[in-house]
């Protein structure tokens, strides 16, 4: 397959062959061309050259529907739900909707939707508007939709990026049973442990080319990483640093909609990790601290200055608090704007004087950000929407880092990011901490939480249910905290 965008090769000799009844991992760095290849497989893009064979016969998919009819179905990266319609309808969209004579068969619709949700262990009310669901639930609904199609070839582009362990386990169970039934599954993920746990074979892409295809059983994780990145990488997690004793951020008795009674301190130079289950209130906590959401009561102090109630993002930024939000497409970047405009946006005051913006200063911070974070793009003027998912995430980081914040809040900062880049981001976090920044990161991956943090807080139903030094942390104990079970002896429910 070859596919060019504006003369740039997104794919340049990519190939993939998937067998019935296998789970085939498709791996590669951010921007390697995985999503593009998938979009070609499902008729969303037409390739500049290359061909597609199904059961040995050449096929051509003019659009998504044709591919679906041929049994090829994808759950796209960043695909989500239709917020204004019900969960049941989201699961059985379009031609999947049971109908007779043009009329929707509501009863059968509900029954089938329920069955799909049951198969992935989800108890989401069918009549709810999908827009009212949590992000995790939305992903599960989208997944249920992909399952509902009776696909013979099922392609999943980073399905677990925003899921936590429980959901991932459920999802894997479903995928394994589909494999039993002879479905061919293509699985894209940046979480290599998952690949080794789940997949049968793997294909690695680099710069739009397929580099190698191999049985998972014959592969080793270090080999996979170095093949992906094209060089060998060192340790994933850098050494921990030493936090200072100066308090950078104090949160006292914070109450929000779901957040209850949260108090903690972060020191300059410290990396504080926050873990918990989906919906435990981590995102809300960060949003409140960053001024993006109002809180009911409680106090937030940066350094020595206490922030006013509901300061708004602008004031919080000026006080030195910056947030890297969890949903990059709806919260992080303006997809239609260029990289430099996105980066300038959070830095308007530093790239302007007397109300006038300076193009030179924007170019300056953009170049620095793109260089520091290795953002892969044609030019600083390229619209962010054209970048690969991981590179979009780096733009969000670059935008906030350009502010040199005292307190950097990051909500799932490595979601959808390849291992090589993850390592870079961890190093970057350490570098920032060494420079005196207090870093607070939310993550749903326990190994990551342990690897990158100095100290870990776990949240459960809006409260802090446990605290631990990362160096002494143990995944099982953390998981117990996540379920709110840690202090069993003094918690007589």
């Amino acid at each position: 397959m070859v596919k060019r965008f504006d003369g740039v090769h997104a794919l340049n000799g990519a190939g993939l062959s998937v067998r019935a009844g296998e789970i085939h991992a498709l791996l590669g760095e951010n921007g390697a061309g995985k999503s593009t290849l998938i979009k070609i497989l499902t008729g969303l893009y037409s390739p500049d050259s290359g061909s597609l064979h199904r059961h040995g016969e050449e096929v051509e998919f003019a659009n998504v529907r044709v591919a679906n009819h041929a049994g090829v179905v994808a759950l796209y990266q960043e695909l989500s739900v239709i917020p204004s319609i019900s969960v049941a309808e989201n699961i059985l969209l379009g031609e999947q909707t049971p109908s007779r004579g043009g009329l929707v068969q509501w009863r059968s619709l509900r029954r089938r939707a329920r069955a799909q949700l049951d198969s992935i262990n989800q108890r989401i009310p069918l009549g709810m508007l999908a827009g009212d669901l949590t992000p995790v639930q939305q992903t599960m609904v989208a997944f249920a939709r992909a399952l509902a199609t009776d696909a013979r070839v099922l392609i999943l582009d980073e399905p677990t990026a925003s899921l936590t362990d429980t959901e991932i386990k459920d999802l894997f169970a479903v995928l394994r049973s589909l494999r039993e039934r002879g479905v061919a599954i293509v699985y894209v993920s940046h979480r290599l442990e998952e690949v080794f746990e789940l997949c049968d074979r793997l294909t690695i892409m680099r710069n739009g080319q397929t580099i190698m295809t191999k049985d998972v059983a014959d592969s080793h994780i270090d080999e996979v990483i170095s093949t992906m990145v094209g060089r060998s990488t060192g340790e994933l997690y850098p050494e921990r640093g030493t936090a200072t004793t100066t308090v950078a951020l104090t949160v006292t008795d914070l109450h929000g909609r779901r957040v209850k009674d949260v108090s903690f301190e972060v020191h300059r130079g410290e990396v504080l990790g926050i873990g918990g289950l989906a919906g435990s209130g981590r995102s809300e906590l960060l949003r409140i601290i960053s001024g993006a959401q109002k809180h009911v009561r409680g106090e937030i102090t940066v350094g020595a200055t206490s922030l006013p109630r509901s300061p708004g993002v602008g004031r919080a930024l000026d006080a030195g608090i910056a947030l890297v939000p969890e949903e990059r497409r709806s919260q992080g970047v303006i997809l239609g704007s260029s990289i430099q405009d996105n980066i300038a946006l959070a830095n308007i005051s530093s790239v302007s004087s007397l109300g006038l913006v300076s193009g030179a200063r924007i170019a300056d911070i953009t170049t620095r950000g793109m260089h520091d974070l290795h953002i892969k793009a044609r030019s600083p003027r390229q619209p962010v929407g054209e970048l690969s998912g991981g590179n979009q995430q780096k733009v969000v980081l670059a935008k906030m880092l350009a502010r040199n914040p005292d307190v950097l809040l990051m909500d799932e900062p490595t979601r959808g990011i390849d291992v090589g880049t993850k390592a870079e981001i961890y190093r970057l976090i350490r570098q920032l901490a060494a420079g005196g920044t207090a870093v607070v990161t939310v993550s749903s991956e326990l190994p990551e939480l342990i690897g990158m943090s100095d100290r870990i807080l776990i949240m459960h139903e809006g409260r802090i249910s446990g605290e631990m030094l990362a160096a002494e942390a143990d995944e099982e104990v953390l998981l117990a905290y996540c379920y709110g079970k840690a202090n069993e002896h003094d918690d007589h429910e």
């Binding site: 969303l44 998504v64 529907r65 679906n68 994808a74 796209y76 695909l79 989500s80 739900v81 239709i82 917020p83 204004s84 319609i85 309808e89 969209l93 379009g94 031609e95 999947q96 909707t97 109908s99 043009g102 009329l103 929707v104 509501w106 508007l129 827009g131 939709r145 199609t149």
Partner: protein
């Protein structure tokens, strides 16, 4: 849920207010019939607008299409064509304009605003050409009866408006087409990637909106016994206002027929009530704007407090 919506509250408040001001007149059978008669055609055109707004677009050409359809029917009948045939041709004209809109928007990818703005302009020009700029009248009595006849004391357009609203409500709620419209309006991209033929869905939405607008226009011509190029022009803004008012009554914030009809009722009650109170025409206009703002604000306060 419906009753607690701000838009419905606004309607009730208006009714109570006008009733308190003129208890002898406002809720009399004659006046209620009057209100229904006055809004019947707006209800039909607002129904057309609802469909298009369900798929997340606008149709600025609904009122112009309705005028042209009415003008075509009138001019053909004056030229001697039998009534049913003239009506069919006029409906076909509406359908074709809707189809043109749909093709431009769904297949040529023009923004709905530009495409229907352009059609609005061209179609108005055509209506001027068809009527030669004048008001066509002296239409056959059989035709006028469609708009002026009564059944059980209630004018026919009221029944027709109710029938069309019910059909649209049914289509939107119970057919796969209706659900695809809602899906498309909720998120085009997700719908497309999930195998919904969003182009066809949008094409159909505009086409049907054109057809329904034509029905409205033909009825307006029959109702007035005459056709001019610009009659019914204010149905455009009022239809959009009605749909917007109605969008606030459901949680999803999507366009819906029940809400649209509540919106149409607000507009009808307001204009009739102000007339009954004998409010000066200019002041009426000022007040109309204020009431629309009040109604929508009320709804949005309600929504936010949920």
């Amino acid at each position: 849920m419906l009753l607690s919506s701000g838009t419905v509250l606004a309607l009730i408040a208006l009714i109570i207010f006008f009733f308190a001001m003129r208890p002898d007149v406002f809720l009399s059978f004659t006046n209620v019939k009057n209100i229904l008669y006055q809004v019947a055609i707006l209800a039909i055109i607002a129904g057309a607008q609802t469909i298009v707004m369900v798929v997340g677009d606008f149709d600025l050409s609904v009122a112009a299409t309705s005028s042209l359809a009415g003008a075509v029917a009138a001019s053909l009948m004056l030229g001697g064509m039998p009534i049913p045939l003239a009506i069919l041709v006029a409906l076909a004209v509406g359908l074709l304009i809707g189809l043109a809109n749909g093709l431009l928007i769904a297949y040529v990818n023009l923004s709905a605003f530009v495409a229907t703005l352009a059609t609005l302009t061209s179609v108005t020009g055509l209506a001027f050409i068809v009527t030669q700029g004048t008001t066509l009248f002296n239409l056959p009595a059989g035709f006028n009866a469609l708009g002026q006849g009564k059944f059980l004391e209630i004018p026919l357009p009221v029944f027709i408006a109710i029938a069309i609203s019910l059909i649209l409500w049914f289509v939107l709620k119970y057919t796969t087409l209706g659900r695809r419209w809602y899906a498309t309006g909720g998120n085009v991209e997700v719908s497309r990637l999930s195998g919904v033929n969003v182009r066809r869905a949008r094409l159909l939405a505009f086409t049907i909106a054109g057809l329904v607008s034509a029905i409205g226009g033909i009825l307006l011509t029959a109702r007035l016994g005459s056709a001019s190029a610009v009659q019914g022009d204010d149905n455009l803004l009022f239809s959009v206002a009605a749909v917007f008012l109605g969008m606030t009554i459901v949680r999803s914030g999507a366009a819906n027929i029940v809400g649209t009809m509540v919106g149409v009722a607000i507009i009808g009650v307001m204009s009739n009530g102000l007339n009954i109170l004998g409010v000066n025409a200019y002041v009426q206009q000022v007040v109309t704007g204020l009431i629309i703002i009040a109604a929508v604000t009320l709804s949005s306060l309600k929504t936010r407090s949920r």
